[in-house]
Symmetry: C2
Subunit: 334 residues, 2 copies
């Protein structure tokens, strides 16, 4: 038997344990062309909150009483596929359960010689690619420009800021604690960092961005984001990656942005990393090179134990994590 | 002596006559390299409202107690320039006064054989070019897509809708009266039109856009614009040209747009026509061809008499005009 996590109710606002159900179910055995994968790491991500609502989006909503899924690193325990051997380490979008039986084409092998397996869910995974394509393809940062990123100590934000530094920009991060601010300044090399819990973001931004804002990488929405618009330079670019402040509220009301966009000829572009799937290899290559060269660092907040998966997910909305949030479910068997 | 119109006070919200002062001043005589131009048409435009505030924008604010300026068609009365002859018809950004003495490089001659002189302030002028570049360069409408335009019976909106029809789109206009709705449907060839004063815009849009919205050309902002976002298709484009509902209010509050942009990977891009100045000739050529071929129609609301200039400007915020608003100050002398 194994445990799995189902969506029991659609969360009204901030999700709670009551919205989920942990059940026991049999592990089963793979048929031809299938593999049995033991879960090693589960990726918990803010965007999953959107899939818990029953609304149209770029990805279908989770169904009630079905298992939740996200990025998972697993180890092949039993293979009925020619493509995989026992003990292979694989990556895919799999269920929140201790074991998954899946078709051979639903995962791919990863090369753990390049980097530790967890990085395929963080800096070399969707998180890193989200930062890479959002910043470079939409934000188009130019040397000497000012780039502001919110959720700056988070999975995506911390990578965004470092790539912007690699591109020669002045980088300002917004985060929610002194620890995070120190991390941004001391470990990730940001030029300035703002603690939105203790500082007036508008005032602090004006001080941190004496030449205005050329790129704002949007992870949070809400009042933090509102403070950005009056400081936009002409032809500013805003990759809109996330709006975590809005995910748990029905009423997301604030100053409209139209007049700011007109006055500065600025651009806001929503995106999801899937838009760039044809270019993933390019992104992974460059991220891996920066990682190898020590130009890119990453942090992971790792919660240990399958039973802590829901906690790790709920923590995302408390700003508890630094870098990528992962749940470590099991050790790899050598 | 002649009359001129000064900005006396910065309007608090909706401008009134009290914000302006009409004074008498001498006409003067041109020096070498200057011309004396008699005002024939004055263009009154919503964007001028923004210039009456003392805030940073793409164009400097008007100064208090100085003459207001905008697009003007005039006739050369006296020339001390080799470039201009008496009676030439010229176009430039000139003062709201009956006569302007200007340097020879501040205006250009227009060819009234192609189209009536007033069109250089409307369909062949900044208005037409705004519609042309905003729709085609940012909106990128593709055949069969649904294009929605607000302020649809106005100077820019009426041209936007017709260009979208030329490009093979389904075109839905939003306007503020039955007369305007009828004009859109019967004269400008829109596929559907919504009267925001009598209809629930959200409900009407859902009905008029069964395949969702691919391009929204934003002229008005506010609650009309709010109703667009839930209907955006994936990869929708929103050229943000104007937000007339916001120009006269300090509090422009509404639903934030970030989550909509993320869910649909949509783009909002503010712009002003000046961004495209290097391509004006291209735009004028194509607009003139469509005009000649009868594929593009235009409407003008012409107010007669210099003394009515302020009224014509104030009327813009009452939705009184259809098509381009112009003040006819004098007849051309043959």
């Amino acid at each position: 038997m194994q445990k799995q996590i189902l969506l029991k109710k659609r969360p009204k606002e901030t999700p709670t344990h009551n919205d989920f159900e942990v059940v026991e179910t049999s592990i089963g055995t793979p048929s031809d062309g299938e593999i049995l994968v033991k879960t090693i790491y589960i990726s918990v991500d803010p965007y999953l909150r959107g899939r818990m609502n029953d609304t149209k989006s770029y990805i279908p909503p989770f169904k009630l009483n079905e298992v939740i899924s996200s990025g998972v690193i697993g180890q092949v325990i039993e293979s009925k596929s020619n493509r995989f051997d026992k003990n292979d380490i694989v990556l895919g979008s799999l269920g929140w359960q201790e074991y998954n039986i899946i078709k051979e084409d639903s995962v791919r092998k990863i090369n753990t010689n390049i980097a530790p397996e967890s990085t395929y869910l963080s800096v070399l995974g969707m998180t890193g690619l989200t930062a890479y394509f959002g910043l470079l393809d939409i934000g188009k940062p130019k040397e000497g420009e000012t780039v502001v990123v919110s959720g700056a100590a988070g999975a995506v934000g911390s990578i965004v800021g470092q790539i912007a530094k690699i591109k020669g920009c002045r980088v300002v991060g917004i985060a929610g604690s002194e620890d995070k601010v120190n991390l941004l300044l001391n470990d990730f090399g940001f030029d300035a960092a703002i603690n939105y819990n203790t500082q007036d973001v508008g005032v602090a931004l004006e001080e941190a961005c004496p030449d205005g804002i050329d790129v704002y990488f949007e992870n949070v929405g809400g009042t933090i984001s509102d403070a950005i618009f009056p400081l936009l330079n002409n032809f500013a670019r805003i990759p809109v990656c996330g709006a975590i402040s809005a995910y748990n509220t029905a009423e997301d009301i604030g100053p409209r942005v139209q007049t700011h966009l007109i006055k500065t000829s600025s651009l806001m572009q929503g995106f999801t990393v899937g838009n760039y799937s044809s270019r993933f290899e390019e992104g992974i290559q460059e991220l891996a090179t920066w990682l190898k060269d020590g130009r890119l660092k990453y942090e992971e907040t790792i919660t240990v134990g399958f039973d802590k998966t829901i906690d790790a997910f709920l923590d995302l909305f408390k700003g508890a994590n630094i870098g990528k949030s992962l749940v470590k479910v099991a050790e790899i068997e050598k």
